[in-house]
């Protein structure tokens, strides 16, 4: 009986920290939209339109969180009313690659998970 090779991995490991961020309800969607528009900036209202169901508050909060993390930039056009433009930083853009891989997996396989779940627990 071989001993498991699984190393200790504390809840504070980098991956957990990352998932704590991109795992929040809207983060990955926002990054996706920004990546699709990249390198063009995207306005607050346009993000709202691109992400049906997101609340005003959560879009604002998530964008500020992303900006604090250095994943997005925020540019204010001091007009009246103001226009605020967001875009991915190089760091944010680099995250798109593994995120896209996850997206591809999800689009390919999520139905298998759903099917399995339905089959075993109706």
């Amino acid at each position: 009986m071989p001993t498991p090779r699984g190393d200790a991995m504390s809840p504070q490991c980098p991956t957990r920290q990352l998932l704590d961020r991109i795992g929040t309800k809207w983060t990955s969607l926002i990054i996706k939209v920004l990546a699709e528009n990249h390198p063009t900036e995207t306005r607050f209202t346009d993000l709202r339109r691109a992400i049906p169901g997101i609340s005003h508050k959560m879009l604002s909060a998530t964008l500020h969180s992303l900006t604090a993390d250095g994943l997005t930039t925020r540019r204010v056009e001091p007009t009246i009313p103001p226009k605020v433009h967001y875009s991915l930083t190089p760091l944010g853009l680099s995250l798109e690659t593994p995120l896209a891989a996850l997206r591809t997996w999800a689009e390919t396989h999520m139905h298998e998970i759903d099917t399995h779940r339905r089959y075993t627990s109706p």
Copy 2:
């Protein structure tokens, strides 16, 4: 001013569903340990040892959820006391690839996020 290309993406998109699963506190860690031991099975207690801090209850709950999703298998050795062995299904193993990519990104770049966060909001 170009129109954003961001398509509508409902909260029920495959990626959100996937993140709702692997984004839970312990799922990605469990998959990692199982992948490291693959194709050898891993026992409940060995998983507990490999994942410091996980509670009894959450390990059990998360494993059952993974099994219901078809990502892991559960094999009971009907001894007294019983031994329960878990391993990744082919589906679960296929998820390891994009997950590993995310892990690599996290290990490479999370410190930049932390640094940025500290720099801008101490």
